[in-house]
């Protein structure tokens, strides 16, 4: 009896929490499909009276959302690939190759995780400006091309690769580059997937840096475009919600498709040290 009571309470709490968690997102979707004005009635509607895709059409035709979608995709995909290559090379080297100053360099790198990104942004802006990279994809991408966190994540994983395996490849005459490419990368697949998802989502969702370097509306990424849109269309609730849904949807789909790797990486990376 007592056990039954506990079960009911635990499930009730979980159910209520799940509902509260999903409600804002479900309302966002519902409002995006409402006719103009329906999201601002009293009492509020939870579902649209009639489903209308007019706001999505308007976003893609009049408001060039397709362009921002492309910008966000190009930046996020490019940063993810570059970061994977550079971070995996460095992470593997810090774990398995021996060279003078290795551990000291790694410790200095780790200390950088304590420095908030904002401390670098003002001079970084001047640097990007002097390189002529304002309003370019490169300008948005440069701070993300390699990351201390990424190197750390790969290193922790690469530590578990047996030295004997690498030595065997060396005895067989494989070059260091060959060992990295044909042996280390395949072995690191799980952590590479984790890092790819982290990087893709972080870049896609990033707001402050793109906001600073992208003054030209044509180059905006989705979050920046959405914030700009809010300035002109704050009253068009349904339109804004359609824009929000389109911004969230790609990362949400990536997460749902690959969540196993993502959550496994988070659980491992957060506790191991």
């Amino acid at each position: 009896m007592r056990r039954l009571f506990t079960i009911v309470v635990v499930y009730a709490l979980l159910g209520v929490a799940a509902m509260i968690t999903m409600l804002p997102l479900l309302w966002m979707l519902a409002a995006s499909l409402m006719a103009t004005g329906e999201a601002t009635v009293y009492p509020p509607h939870i579902t649209p009276d009639t489903v209308s895709t007019a706001h999505y059409t308007e976003l893609f035709t009049r408001l060039h959302l397709g362009r921002y979608l492309i910008n966000s995709t190009v930046v996020a995909v490019a940063v993810t690939f570059t970061a994977l290559v550079f971070n995996s090379m460095a992470g593997y080297a810090f774990a398995k190759l021996r060279f003078a100053g290795r551990d000291r360099t790694f410790r200095v790198l780790l200390s950088a995780m304590l420095v908030p990104a904002q401390a670098s942004m003002l001079p970084l802006f001047l640097l990007v400006k002097s390189l002529g990279l304002l309003n370019t994809y490169w300008g948005v991408m440069v701070p993300g091309l390699a990351s201390v966190f990424g190197i750390f994540l790969i290193r922790q994983y690469a530590l578990s690769i047996p030295d004997s395996l690498l030595d065997a490849a060396r005895i067989d005459g494989a070059s260091e580059l060959r060992i990295y490419w044909s042996l280390v990368l395949p072995l690191c697949r799980p952590v590479l997937v984790t890092l790819a998802i982290f990087t893709f989502m972080g870049t896609w969702n990033d707001f402050m840096w793109p906001l600073i370097v992208l003054a030209d509306a044509d180059m905006h990424t989705l979050p920046v475009a959405l914030a700009t849109l809010l300035g002109e269309h704050a009253q068009d609730t349904e339109l804004m919600m359609a824009g929000s849904v389109l911004t969230v949807l790609p990362v949400l789909l990536v997460f749902l498709a690959l969540q196993r790797h993502y959550i496994a990486g988070l659980m491992g990376g957060g506790v191991k040290g």
Partner: protein, 295 residues
């Protein structure tokens, strides 16, 4: 000890690209920011470097005398000290529920709770703006149904920060929840068995076994939450623009306004460095209270 061989030189080639990028686009700018904070770099210097002057600690002195800085600091501390613990408490509650042995479909609930974490902050902040609407918003309607008078969440200086804290809790708790679930899974089952044999009830088991064993994970979670919360920016930028009457102006928002709206880069750099110092100090303080898995 092995002898140095050709492969060891390869190490430099492997770390080279990443180190170069991090050095040029992070370390160098951080050092430059410190230098920048001792200059009067403004919109004139941006046009012509001849207008740049070394001003010593003038920016820092100006900071101390700037009432908006103190408002921003107070708001940020409010967010960190109220929002941070609330977020961790909700994460812990969710993790304990998920860890309960009677729960089936753990994967489903875990995914649901984690979804807000991966969503784009700007997009969900826009949605919450409407949820918080005093007339048409779902939240006030829900409160009305249980007999609470509508609250002008984002329009009332007293409620704007609680509104942002509430939204941030919703957005973030899933992240810490996952890390805490991992920590809970690492507690050996035989400790609970031993506690039960000694006659400990559920609360005593939580108090005497779960909490002490979870402390390192908790310290880690509190630390990363605090560091992240000090950098509050997008929520007030999108939801309130720092208002009403500066009630949600954060340190980073102030830095952004000074640096990139008024082009007072020298002054903004001083703000950034004070934030850095505060985060560093708070981190060292935390580390004194407990060992974290990072150590």
């Amino acid at each position: 000890m092995r002898r140095t061989t050709g492969r060891d030189r390869a190490g430099y080639w492997f770390i080279g690209p990443a180190l170069f990028l991090i050095f040029v686009f992070f370390f160098l700018p951080v050092v430059a920011a410190l230098a920048l904070s001792f200059t009067d770099w403004d919109v004139y210097a941006l046009g012509d470097l001849a207008n740049l002057r070394y001003v010593g600690f003038a920016n820092y002195q100006r900071l101390v005398g700037d009432p908006r800085f103190w408002v921003a600091l107070r708001n940020t501390l409010y967010f960190v000290l109220v929002g941070g613990p609330l977020s961790v408490a909700v994460s812990l509650g969710a993790a304990l529920l998920l860890n309960s042995s009677i729960v089936r479909m753990k994967g489903f609930f875990r995914t649901v709770f984690f979804v807000p974490v991966v969503t784009t902050l700007v997009a969900v902040a826009v949605a919450w703006r409407y949820l918080y609407h005093p007339r048409y918003g779902l939240l006030d309607y829900g409160l009305h149904l249980i007999g609470i008078a509508p609250i002008d969440w984002l329009g009332d200086p007293r409620w704007a920060m609680p509104a942002i804290i509430l939204m941030a809790t919703w957005k973030n708790f899933g992240f810490n929840m996952i890390i805490l679930v991992a920590g809970l899974l690492n507690i050996p089952e035989n400790l609970y068995a031993a506690a039960r044999i000694d006659g400990a009830n559920g609360w005593q088991q939580f108090r005497r076994v779960t909490l002490p064993m979870l402390t390192p994970t908790l310290v880690f979670v509190v630390l990363i939450t605090m560091i992240g919360y000090f950098q509050l920016f997008a929520e007030p930028y999108v939801m309130t623009n720092g208002g009403p009457s500066d009630a949600t102006l954060s340190i980073v928002l102030l830095m952004y306004e000074e640096g990139f709206r008024w082009w007072n880069l020298g002054y903004a750099a001083a703000i950034a460095f004070v934030l850095f110092a505060i985060i560093l100090g708070a981190t060292l303080l935390q580390l004194r209270f407990g060992r974290t898995p990072l150590q």
